[in-house]
């Protein structure tokens, strides 16, 4: 663990299932990881790999028919899954904040930005409205919104997408949480705005000593931002480790497959190599390693479930990992 002392968040054997009519959908399947203080962890995977549901599970925001069926989520040593709803509400937004993917949808269109910020302050702290307003204004200024005092009275439709995401970040920062879960916060934005927001979040996380879980399908973004990376496939974390190590010397064939499909990671002139096939339907995943149907290295043993192997600062679930140190 790269964190100092006890981790902020420790997830143990988390499983979140959706009880659908067509069967049980294992969106998150036996996931364990931890996040140290001030650490930035990137959680990557393709659509439907369960990375967003992992984030929502931590905050207890999985909508029915989804349900966390087993595991522990230890936040500062306390199990969030055992917490009564009322106590959980004092954690959400106060100690763990979340930033969503689409800034066009996360703010309520009929309430002013000020109202939506002030209510967040008042939900957790007994302060006067004026005090809450001052804090909200300062938070807007902090994320680089010009003339924050006037902008408090504006409505979301009067902001651009990038500015709305800054507002969402300001809301997340209001209580200086220990942990921010950012669910693809730059995906819906223009590339130029993306890098600004990225930089802003990194700066603020460092400034206030917040840990960050950055959920993304963009390896480039995670490489630029994270200390550690976790790769998710079909509801499981298939590889985790220090970001430079994982990106330079991936052990799991899925990770290496992802990397050779990224334009920036492949030398110029060489063709991109997409991973053959499709991710299995979450309702009918093959037994054993879910990746084996698409994997060139798969053998008979892959039909049994691979257990996590831990080597140095690396953890992966594969019977036939790439070997680097020998080469």
């Amino acid at each position: 663990m790269t964190g100092i002392g006890t981790p902020v968040l420790e997830v143990r054997n988390l499983s979140t299932h959706f009880m659908t009519r067509r069967g049980v959908l294992k969106a998150v399947d036996d996931v364990s990881f931890s996040v140290g203080r001030r650490e930035i962890v990137g959680l990557v995977g393709e659509s439907g790999s369960g990375k967003s549901i992992t984030g929502f599970s931590i905050l207890g925001l999985v909508d029915p028919p989804g349900r966390v069926v087993s595991g522990q989520i230890l936040f500062n040593g306390e199990d969030l899954l055992k917490m009564p709803p009322k106590a959980m509400r004092t954690i959400r937004g106060k100690r763990i904040a979340m930033i969503f993917q689409d800034p066009m949808m996360t703010l309520n269109p009929v309430l002013s930005v000020g109202t939506q910020m002030i209510e967040t302050v008042l939900a957790h702290d007994k302060v006067s409205r004026a005090e809450a307003r001052t804090r909200s204004r300062d938070a807007l200024g902090l994320v680089g919104i010009p003339s924050p005092e006037e902008r408090l009275d504006a409505y979301p439709h009067q902001f651009s997408g990038g500015m709305r995401q800054r507002v969402a970040i300001a809301i997340a920062l209001l209580h200086r949480p220990d942990l921010i879960i950012a669910d693809e916060p730059t995906t819906a934005l223009d590339v130029t705005i993306q890098s600004q927001i990225l930089f802003e979040i990194k700066r603020l996380a460092a400034e206030f000593g917040m840990a960050l879980i950055w959920i993304s399908h963009d390896l480039g973004v995670v490489a630029a931002l994270a200390d550690r990376i976790m790769v998710m496939y079909a509801g499981k974390i298939v590889e985790a480790g220090h970001v430079d190590g994982v990106l330079r010397e991936p052990r799991h064939p899925y990770t290496s497959g992802l990397l050779s499909a990224v334009p920036a990671a492949v030398p110029r002139g060489e063709p991109l190599r997409p991973i053959p096939g499709f991710a299995p339907s979450p309702l009918s995943r093959p037994s054993g390693c879910a990746f084996r149907d698409r994997c060139a290295r798969a053998t008979g043993i892959c039909a049994t479930e691979p257990m996590p192997s831990i080597a140095a600062d690396r953890e992966f679930r594969c019977f036939h990992p790439h070997l680097w140190s020998a080469a």
Partner: protein, 324 residues
């Protein structure tokens, strides 16, 4: 806003003018009021004199311009039957209909919104099933039958509430209404319920649909992630969004309740304008019918105006006067 009001006012005048033409010509086309008003044994001379005194011998266009000219001076003609200005007949009866409609509307909202919220927040639960089934009855049972059942149960069998008339009328700040006396209120309950039952079902369904559409949206989840209480999420975040469709439909429905309170007024012998209209149509009392329709159109226009203003208050994305 000022631009909006002025433009809306000019539009309203145009609508009123067009309605006046249509109504006048339409009414002119049905029957001959002279037949209804003059005794069958009157001599042709007497007959011609009455027709001339009512102005019925003149051509249609001349009658219309006389009517329009007088209307511009606030005179919508004299009732053939009562020989009184038709507008004052209507304004005598209007308060009774207004109080009935407004109380009906309040019932519809006070009963409909909470039930709709209950239903929408727990979809497919037993509570939801019961409320939805109930609302089907509200929708599908004819209003006159509901009215008769109300009278049978609450007036005849239980004897709790009176079934006819407006009761004692009290006066408060110069307004005369049954709302200000206990007797008047007891008279008001049954007809108001009768008038509102259909609207209750409508409001339940609108609210339920709104809740179900709004709850899965990202901003609700984000509100949860901020740690807001469920109460604040439902009553501020979700409810303010539901208000937008609710106000639109309620505005339209309020107009139709006013205009078509006829059935309820007939069943409960409520002395409102609906009953006046029916009586006037039966007697071919043209000036009263024309005046009634113009008053109702004006009310509709006014309600729509209020709805537009409310809209801009509830939804910040709507700015009055910006639209071209």
């Amino acid at each position: 806003m000022t631009v909006f009001v002025i433009r809306r006012f000019l539009q309203s005048l145009a609508v009123l003018a067009v309605t006046a033409v249509i109504v006048f010509i339409g009414i002119y086309a049905i029957g001959d009021p002279a037949e209804m008003l003059i005794a069958p044994d009157a001599s042709p001379a007497e007959r011609a004199q009455v027709v001339a005194s009512l102005g019925l011998d003149k051509p249609l266009w001349e009658q219309f311009f006389t009517f329009a000219w007088n209307a511009l001076h606030g005179d919508l003609g004299r009732s053939f039957v009562f020989n009184r200005p038709s507008i004052s007949l209507i304004f005598e009866r209007l308060p009774a209909t207004l109080e009935l409609t407004l109380v009906g509307l309040v019932f519809a909202l006070v009963i409909g919104i909470p039930l709709g919220l209950l239903s929408g927040l727990k979809p497919n639960s037993a509570t939801d099933e019961v409320i939805m089934t109930g609302s089907i009855f509200g929708f599908s049972l004819p209003s006159f039958w509901q009215g008769m059942m109300l009278i049978m149960i609450f007036s005849v069998w239980l004897g709790w509430l009176p079934s006819t008339g407006r009761g004692e009328v009290g006066e408060f700040l110069g307004i005369r209404s049954s709302l200000f006396t206990l007797d008047g209120l007891t008279h008001l309950i049954l007809p108001a319920i009768n008038l509102s039952l259909f609207k209750v079902s409508l409001v339940i369904r609108l609210t339920r649909t709104g809740v179900r559409e709004t709850m899965p949206l990202d901003f609700v989840k984000f509100a949860r992630a901020k740690g807001l209480s469920e109460k604040r999420i439902v009553f501020v975040h979700v409810f303010k969004n539901i208000l937008i469709p609710l106000i639109t439909v309620i505005g339209l429905e309020l107009g139709s309740m006013l205009a078509f309170a006829v059935v309820t007024e007939t069943i409960f012998a409520w002395p409102g304008i609906g009953k006046l209209l029916i009586d006037s149509i039966m007697r071919l009392d043209r000036p009263v019918v024309v005046a009634y329709l113009l008053v109702i159109v004006s009310l509709f226009i006014f309600i729509n105006f209020v709805v537009d203003v409310l809209y801009s208050l509830v939804d910040p994305r709507v700015r009055l006067g910006d639209a071209q």
